[in-house]
Amino acid sequence: MTHVLAIASREIRERRMVFVAAAFLATLPFLFALLPSAARFGRAARIAGTGGILASAWAVGLAIVLGVSILSSELAQRRLSFYLTKPIGAASVWLGKLTAAWVIVLVTFAIVFVPSLMVGGSAWQTAWNTPINVVVALVALISLGLILLFHLAGTFVRSRSPLLAVDLVLGVLFAGATWLLVQPLMARLSLQNVKIVTLGVACGFAAAVIPAGVFQVARGRADIRASHAALSKFVWAASAVVLLFGGAFVAWVLSAGPSDLLSPQLGQASAGKWAWATGQAAKRNDYRPLFLIDTTTGRHFSIPASRFAASFSGDGNSAVWLRRGNLELMVTRLGGGKPRHIATGLSGPWFSVAVLSDDGTRLAAIDSNQTLSVSDVDGGRILASVKLAGSFKSHRMFFADNDTVRIYETPSRVAQPGTGTTLRAYELNIPGRGLTLTGELAAPAKSLMLTADSSGRRVLLMPNGGDGMFLLDGRSLQNMATYSVKPTWAGSFILRNGNVVIADRAAGVLGVFAGSGEKLREIRVGHASQIWAMSEIAPSRLVVLLYGRPGSYVRDFTTLVVDCERGVIERRDKVMPAQIRGYDDPRVASSDAPRQLLVEDAERRLWRWNPLTGAKTRL
């Protein structure tokens, strides 16, 4: 330490004229403030602003100059032997010089900056809008980084060694490797982690120059070429280690599994075995992975999807999702073998609705311009594209068959000032590329709740806040039956046998109605804030979620398996199933084969749950 200080003080003494120059520079803001134009902005503000700019520019410039000359100029002039012929260690030589350079930069920065800061006072805060301690910390770190990096550059260039070509190649490779390193994070829009990796690698690289300088003096001694070789060897080896750490960090971030999700959002296909889960990954900053999960095995993989998750085809073998970054709709084939991603060519700026045909071969999407496009997923061709009338409309849709898209349109709430609303049904004929209005219904409510049966032939319409619920023809919207229910009746479901299940959250019952509107029975399930009929897992066996407590949305839930034919509750479990089928498609989820559901428990842990047996397996 004594030697470090001896060298540092000697180096500082040798450059004492720099302090005089800084003192001269410190007067300039005051001289500028005397100019007549300065009065317009306020002299104090002018002094503060000019002082800050001059001090920062000075610090940056001086750090570069000192970085270039700190060691390499003595090496080039063969004057480093002055230290090497004395009982001074390599670490003392390098650290003494580095300390001196850094101290000179910081002290002269203060000499230039402090007078204008003192005179500028609060005007400084107005001019710079940055706390003083942040400015000092930034200047300290940036100047140190510049000294180190320019020491590296100075040594490499001054040695005139052919090794410089190797350094340039390795420098490009290092930058390229860093770029590749952040690509997976960029693709997932994890910008905080991109920043961490980029800054970490840059700081790691700069920090590597500190021990590299010791190695340089210890191994290179007075020979500048040997010095260059030693520095180069250490820096690039350390850079490889830095990249390995960066890579390990990226791998760790990306290694998050479904069990790492905080407050997960879940979704599941209406048939088949696939589900998705997304959410903030624990301890991984802004990384929000989206996993496609095989509920039979627990196998999962992540996709770089936007936070709007995925929706599945009717057969459950394909998923459509929006890729982050270029916002292109992607389709992933999940049926057998390795999942395969297909870029559809349909890209942003935004999609309000995107659904796949039941076999997954076709994709229909409505973009922000209210243009409905249908594409052939595997062929990559647009099959039909039509502009939907008007704006401020909400749409839900599905493929009635592979050549027909049924669209239900309601005005969005903001565009509906009156008390009534109109539901319209359209069909897009894909081969004919024609959009036809097939039904229209005026309803006395500001918003409508719409549920279609699994085939899409019938629609259950509940005007929000009104009495009664209507069973309509899915295409023409002609009324087929009316159910006399109160506004407290909420979640509804059309069973495959044609019966309709409507939940009364106030009474805590499920009402089972015939297709004609006749009430068949009531099943008492218990009180909750919300009651949702989730899916029909076997004929007339319905998974029902009770969420919250009456009048409160506290996170408390129970899932029931209800036999609607017999009117009994077969199972109660403290789990919450994934949403089955997305919001975009109004059809209920009805599976003809027993299967496992993706659920979360009260601690937000994910499980694969067999609703028929109640067996749970941790994901």
Partner: protein, 290 residues
């Protein structure tokens, strides 16, 4: 711990690219001796000295000072080795007084009095900046540093370069002589052969990176003679000739294995001893060998 050889270089090779500056060189400097390392410019002396001081790693071989490997123990050894480099390397902005203060902080056995005495001897002002000193005064300051740190080994790389006649005489007669008396091992490279002749215990001559001659000074001078023959040619069989050239109407030969019997063989020849400088010139390639 005492060592037979204060400085030992074993098979040292130094290369600059394809050029071999020092070629598999082995050198032993006995402890307490004054050792003169001679050679023409480019012979490899400076490269060897850099290796001896641990400033450069040789491509092959190793160097020990006081029994310690100079590459790995440089820091420790430099507290025991005083160095006057060929190019005075103290920072130009530093005053002589600042230099002394700096050295006092880094050397464990610094003698300020010795430093001041040495400066007085060369009439050097302590307030002058090093960069403003004459070449000779710079050498003087470096010498003062080398002496004041109480060395066990003194390495002087062409120390008389730039010194005036008085200072040169002072260096050889007083300084180096005093070092020799104190038993401090001194390695000196110099072109001032007249000055070192009386002081050096041993002499080595380098040529093309190799030591071509290494011997005690007295023995060396005893076996070298100039033999001049009035008539030519003369049979010089059994004599090792370092150089043969014409001399007036006769011949002059420099022989390197002279002994008493040689004078008996050539009763009419003029036989005279050689100075170290003349031996150096003959050995390092100036002579015309026949």
């Amino acid at each position: 711990m005492s060592h037979e050889h204060a400085i030992a270089a074993n098979g040292v090779t130094v290369r600059y690219g394809r050029k071999v500056a020092v070629d598999d060189l082995t050198l032993r400097v006995p402890t307490g001796s004054v050792y003169a390392l001679l050679g023409r410019n480019g012979a490899g002396k400076s490269s060897l000295v850099r290796c001896l001081l641990g400033q450069r790693k040789s491509e092959a071989g190793n160097v020990t000072l006081l029994g310690m490997d100079v590459w790995s123990e440089r820091q420790r050894l430099m507290d025991l080795v005083g160095v006057v480099p060929e190019d005075s390397d103290a920072p130009p902005q530093m005053t002589v007084r600042e230099l002394a203060a700096f050295c006092a902080r880094v050397y464990s056995r610094w003698q300020g009095v010795t430093f001041d005495e040495c400066l007085d001897r060369f009439s050097i002002s302590t307030t002058a900046r090093f960069g403003e000193l004459s070449k000779g005064h710079k050498k003087g300051v470096m010498l003062a540093v080398a002496l004041a740190m109480s060395p066990e080994i003194l390495v002087l790389d062409d120390p008389t370069l730039g010194l005036d006649v008085v200072a040169r005489r002072s260096l050889f007669d007083e300084v180096i002589g005093e070092m020799a008396e104190r038993g401090i091992t001194t390695l000196i490279t110099t072109h001032d052969l007249g000055g070192i002749e009386a002081l050096a215990d041993r002499v080595a001559i380098m040529k093309d990176g190799r030591i071509v001659l290494e011997e005690e000074t007295e023995a060396l001078k005893n076996r070298f003679r100039r033999i001049r023959f009035a008539a030519a040619p003369v049979a010089l069989s059994n004599l090792a000739t370092a150089a043969v050239r014409s001399w007036g109407s006769g011949t002059e030969a420099i022989v390197s294995n002279y002994d008493e019997r040689t004078s008996e063989r050539f009763p009419h020849a003029e036989i005279s001893p050689l100075s170290l400088e003349e031996i150096f010139i003959a050995v390092s390639g100036e002579g015309e060998k026949s």
